[in-house]
Each structure stands twice: as structure tokens, then as C-alpha cells.
Point group: C2
Chain length 252, copies 2
């Protein structure tokens, strides 16, 4: 039931030092300590470590990982789905690298001295690590809205948080239902529902129309959120984006 450092390290394929480090920076603190101070990791820790390793595999800085995992609305299953999407992207990149090797070999073998520089580097970075910055800075991360959100959430009581969360789920459910019933995203009915969603958002920060529109974009682009909504209903992310855009347009 409990694992000591070396056991867990062996299981996960990381070093003991790495676990120490993760503990030191508060990324993965063991569930308990033995009377003599030994770190004892429980089953939840195993799952958390798995999440950490996936994020790390996808080159997110440890600090960013801590932030993600620390979000009150963090959804482990949605995160796994998002990881899968990102891994697929990476698989694509690696396949393009293999292709790059083949074209390079062909050129070299053919004795051609002229190899176009662009095709020499097809598939190398340019995106992978860059993405985290964009997604963090452009959408969330250290926007004022995000900081404000964190502050308000921190001030909420546990009960209040549960309420807010329930209301959020209810709103999304209502929107998913509207979508399934074929309600157009720009219709009056949809706009009322978006209004309700915006009211819910006010629990976190003051949402300007542009922010609401940006949020909608994010729902379809950011794998984390996309996964969250796809899980609820296929196509919901796009539906939300359209409905929120329509709402924002009516406000501008």
C-alpha cells in the first residue's frame, strides 16, 4: 500500500534524487512520512507522478506542471486525454523527422550537392516547447484574469466551491442539451445560456466580451479544455465557441 522512495523510483523509472527534488519543490509530496521520517507514497501519489511524467515528456517546465495540477478545476481524466492528443502530435513530428532523414539520404546518395535548407530541418522543434509559452501567456498563465481567478478561488469556502463547481457543471450540461436539441449557437435561447455561463465565470473574474470570445476559442484549441468538453458531448467545444462568440458580438 505504501511505497518508499526507491521502490517508487524503480516503478516509474526515475531516480530517487528526482523524487527528493519533486518533494522539495512541492510538486510531489508523499502522502505520509514514517515515524522515522521515511517518505511513504500512497496510490494517489502514483497517479500524480504519472501525470507529472506525462507533462514532463511533453516538455512542460516543472513549475508549470505544479500550476496545472494545482488548479482547483484540474480534471485528471481530461488531462490524460489531452496528453494523448499531444503525444499524437509528437508522434507526427517524429515521423516527419524520419521522412527528413530519408529525403536527406536520397539527396546525399544522388550526389546532389544542392539540398534545400528548408527540407533539411523538417520536423524539428519550432513548436513543441514554444507552445507552452503561447498557451500559457496568450490564454491563461499569467494573464491578470488568471491571477484574479486564483485569488477569488482561494478565498472561497469549501462549500461555496462545491456550489460553484456544481453550477458550472449544470450550465455546461444545459448548453450541451441545447446543442443536442439543435438550438443554433446564435439563437436567443443559446444567448441566455451563455449569459448564465458568464454569470458563473464572474465567480472567478470580471469577463469582458473579448475575454469571453477568447475563452471560446481556447475551448477548441487548447487540448486540455477541448478534452474536457468533448468528454461531455462531442462537438460541444465548437458549439460553445460559436455561442460565446455570438454573445460577445452582441455586446460589442
Amino acid at each position: 500500500m505504501n511505497y518508499r522512495v526507491k521502490e517508487l523510483a524503480g516503478l516509474a523509472g526515475v531516480s530517487v534524487r528526482t523524487l527528493h527534488h519533486y518533494d522539495a519543490i512541492g510538486l510531489l509530496a508523499p502522502a505520509r512520512r514514517s515515524p522515522s521520517g521515511y517518505r511513504l507514497y500512497g496510490p494517489e501519489d502514483l497517479l500524480r507522478l504519472q501525470q507529472i511524467l506525462f507533462y514532463r515528456e511533453l516538455e512542460m517546465p516543472l513549475e508549470g506542471i505544479a500550476r496545472e495540477l494545482g488548479r482547483p478545476d484540474f480534471d485528471p481524466e481530461a488531462a490524460l486525454v489531452a496528453h494523448r492528443a499531444r503525444l499524437e502530435e509528437k508522434l507526427g513530428r517524429l515521423r516527419r523527422l524520419v521522412a527528413t532523414i530519408d529525403t536527406t539520404l536520397a539527396r546525399l546518395g544522388g550526389g546532389e550537392r544542392e539540398l534545400k535548407p528548408e527540407e533539411l530541418y523538417e520536423g524539428f522543434p519550432k513548436e513543441t516547447a514554444e507552445r507552452w509559452e503561447r498557451e500559457a501567456a496568450e490564454n491563461w498563465g499569467d494573464t491578470d484574469a488568471y491571477r484574479e481567478s486564483r485569488k477569488r478561488v482561494a478565498r472561497m469556502s469549501k462549500e461555496r466551491w462545491a456550489e460553484v463547481k456544481a453550477e458550472g457543471g449544470a450550465v455546461d450540461e444545459a448548453l450541451a442539451d441545447a446543442m443536442r436539441r439543435g438550438v443554433a449557437p446564435g439563437s436567443a435561447e443559446a444567448l441566455v445560456l451563455v449569459e448564465r455561463k458568464v454569470a458563473h465565470l464572474r465567480n472567478f473574474y470580471e469577463p469582458s466580451p473579448e475575454l469571453v470570445k477568447g475563452l471560446g476559442e481556447m475551448y477548441v484549441q487548447h487540448p486540455e479544455f477541448r478534452a474536457h468538453y468533448e468528454k461531455q458531448a462531442p462537438g460541444l467545444a465548437e458549439y460553445l465557441r460559436d455561442a460565446m462568440a455570438a454573445w460577445a458580438a452582441g455586446r460589442a
Copy 2:
């Protein structure tokens, strides 16, 4: 024909600082400098950078990359083939990670609280970076033989080096021919050829029978070498291993 830092950086998808760094540590020095000190990269530099990026993608430390690229017997094409093999391995790992996500999701969704820890981390490191150490330390890298080899090569004249290289190619060609003719790797004829190969090796260091045997093993295991021999003739790596093992056995 010539590229300045930012151009090359843009093409390859790395930062200017990275190119500066590679220059500073002697990993990639630009072909020329403009009168005013600007770095000017030529076509050879493009190819070298490509190699560097492949090694880096495969997590080799920069120092190791410099060593590989600096070896007098470095074969760019064989290296590319080896990169491809290693990329395939990595692809396999990533695919296993995707599978890990799916099994984890299945367990979580099924409400099963019991998820076996081993399958939680299927596909994570445990090998990737570890490999370079093994391959470097166990086979080459900082063995005495390798250092001796480097020293002797450094003392050779350019003409002598060309001779040695030609002789090496001829020996391997003769061995490939023997293999194709169906000569058994343990036969007297093969042993004579191995003797000739050993003589050739003496240009680099004093090969003990065990070293010769180890070298044969390396030919089949180390992708770099394997690629080199496979290119010459399919199955040659294994053939050499067997022949060299037979020779070594006859010496022990």
C-alpha cells in the same frame, strides 16, 4: 550561399543564442566570418547542424555529439541510418505511452481503484538516456583503446590516413564477398580475412582477442556500426561478429 545567425536559426528552428553556444563550445563553428566579425554559415554547416539536432533529439549530451562528429571515421550517411533506427525506437516508446494512457483511462473509468503500478508507467524512460552511457562506457567512449586510437590517428599524415581507410574498406569488402559466397564464418578462409582485419585494427590500437570479440558484438548491437555494415551488405554485421568471435576463440 552564406547564412547569418538569425537566418540559420530560423531555418533550423533554434535560437540565435543556441548557435552562439554551439560556436563557443566548438560544436558548430561557422565556415567563415565576415570582415566585421559576423558569423557566416556555409552549406556544410547546415548538414552538420542537422546531425547535431538529430543527436540532440535523441538526447545525447552536446559533448558526446562533438565526440561523435569528431571521430575520424564518422560516416554521415551511416549516422542518418542509425538516427532513423533510434527514432523508430522512440516512436515505439511513445506509442506505448499512448497505450498506457488508454489502459489508465479504462481503469479509472471502470471505477477500479486497483491499478497495477507497473502498467502505470509503461513506456517511460528507463532506457532512452541510459543507453548513451552504456554504449559509450561499455564499448567505446572512454576506454583506453579508444583514447589510444585517437592518438594514433592524430599522428597519421593525411596520405597515410587515406591509405588506412582504403585498406579498411577493402578488408570489409573482401569479407562481404566471402559472406556472399557462402564461406562459413569459422572457416579457414574467413579466419585469414579476420586476421587481415585485425592487422588493420592495429593501425589504431593493440587489439586483444577479447577486444576483437567485443568489437564484433558491437557491430551488431550499436546502431551506428550496424548501419555502416548493413549498408555494405545485408547481414554483414552478424557475419563479422561470428567470424571475429571464431577468430578470438582460436586465440584464447
